[in-house]
Amino acid sequence: MNYSWNWSILIQPPYLGWLASGLELTLVISISAWILALIAGTLVGVVGTLPHRIPRMLAATYVGMFRNIPLLLQLFLWFFVVPELLPSGWGFWLKRDLPFPELWTSMLALGLFTSARVAVQVGSGITAVSSGQRMAAVASGMSPAQAYRLVLLPQAFRIVLPPLTSDFLTVFKNSALALTIGVFELTAQTRQIESFTFQGFEAFTAATIVYLVIALLVTFFMRTLERRVALPDTMGAAS
């Protein structure tokens, strides 16, 4: 192989700046998508465990839709199709006036896609909490909302924290798809460096390491969180 290595390219202007701004966008998209996913996913997960059939069906439909349509297709739908379907005023605003439409779209699409996974986790966490807990809460005069907020969700989140870690990690990996609608996140910047300098190996190695470091940090953060909220072990003879 006749490849001339030049690692210093990575710290040369403007390429270091490109990598940095790519990382910034990757973090911004992933973290906002994750926050959206946590909020929407928790709501849908709760709705999926309500005693009535109709809300449960709505939640199942939501999850089925956002989980089963490929993320790439969802990105395209939100970016190219939805603005055309909206009333023309809104569509124009989205296409013409909204700054960074590709950024907002990727946050929304990635957030909703991920929220379906969060909803499934949260729903299974709530189901794993014994029905007696809900009964005890309601019997003490709590409203259903209070029972969820004070009794069911704090337990459900503890149960599903480990699987949520893997969904959180996936968000960062999936955020690379935003490049398909023109977001210059980390992977896109790496490709750009490659095409400007032909030093693709260096650029992609750098990106790989950055993704790995993000994954390690996220895992560390979630493990710390798990430890912080862990309950003391059983010591007594609870029968």
């Binding site: 807990q133 019997a139 003490s140 005069g141 010591m235 007594g236 003879a237 609870a238 029968s239």
Partner: protein
């Protein structure tokens, strides 16, 4: 504090030994009953689990419900605070018509304490937080007030040093006493117990029954599903025997034990007392 201090100085053992005549508050006469169950029917699908139950519980009265497994005891007391719906009949609890849309079930439930077989303490909260949660969020008491109440009740159920423990760190008997304290913290007008000692190791049953007995003698209105006939003898004003979804016999405690009329009650009693 009110009741909390009246008998705080007595040990559980002393309370168990007290004769029934020491009851502090007499059964109220002339006021509306606490619970009026009339012709209550309920089915789970094709299976009828309550077949026209009638029961009136006066204020201050202690009623023990017993009967074979599957006879509908749990279903009946869950109907009382609206945790289970019923199909037909009428049910008035502390003046509230249970099962009607307009009724304020939330505030009724806050006034009716419930203790179940499996304690159902909130495992993610400490003992103190368990006892304060509904006080703060349902009754809107201040945290300080709720904690003072919680500490007084913990002393009353004999667990003054456990406020910082998590439920998993307590024995079953301790957990059940905390569950009773949690219910009492709401200043209930009545307490429902569903087999409060049946999940406990034998050596822990006594400590829980002692707390319940003290409560009965303080004049609390209680409906207790239990097979602890010793408790029924000491604490109950009346015993109700259920079988196959029907109330087969209701009798004053003495009469129930001395001369049960229903054949099935006789059979049940002879079995349970010979154990």
């Amino acid at each position: 504090m009110t009741k909390a201090h009246i008998q705080a100085s007595r040990t559980p053992a002393e309370i168990v030994e007290m004769p029934a005549s020491v009851r502090v508050v007499p059964i109220s006469q002339g006021r509306k009953p606490m619970v009026e169950i009339s012709k209550l029917y309920k089915s789970y699908g094709p299976i009828e689990v309550l077949k026209g139950c009638d029961l009136v519980v006066e204020r201050g009265e202690v009623v023990v419900i017993c009967g074979p497994s599957g006879s509908g005891k749990s279903t009946l007391i869950k109907c009382v605070n609206g945790l289970e719906r019923f199909d037909r009949g009428a049910l008035v609890v502390d003046g509230v018509r249970v099962g009607e849309r307009a009724s304020d079930m939330t505030s009724l439930r806050a006034r009716i304490g419930m203790v179940s077989q499996h304690f159902e303490l909130y495992p993610h909260l400490t003992v103190l937080q368990n006892i304060c949660l509904a006080q703060v969020h349902v009754l809107k008491r201040s945290k300080v007030e709720a904690q003072a109440k919680a500490r007084a009740l913990l002393a009353r159920v004999g667990l003054p040093d456990k406020e910082g423990a998590y439920p998993a760190q307590l024995s079953g008997g301790q957990q059940q006493r905390v569950a009773i304290a949690r219910a009492l913290a709401m200043d209930p007008v009545a307490m429902l117990f569903d087999e409060p000692t049946s999940a406990l190791d034998p050596e822990m049953i006594g400590e829980v029954l002692a707390v319940m007995l003290e409560l009965a003698r303080d004049g609390m209105t209680m409906i207790v599903v239990t097979h602890e006939m010793g408790f029924a003898r000491k604490a109950a004003d009346r015993v109700v025997f259920m079988d196959k979804g029907a109330i087969v016999e209701t009798a004053p405690t003495q009469q129930f034990f001395d001369e049960p009329r229903a054949e099935r009650a006789k059979l049940f009693l002879s079995r349970i007392l010979s154990q």
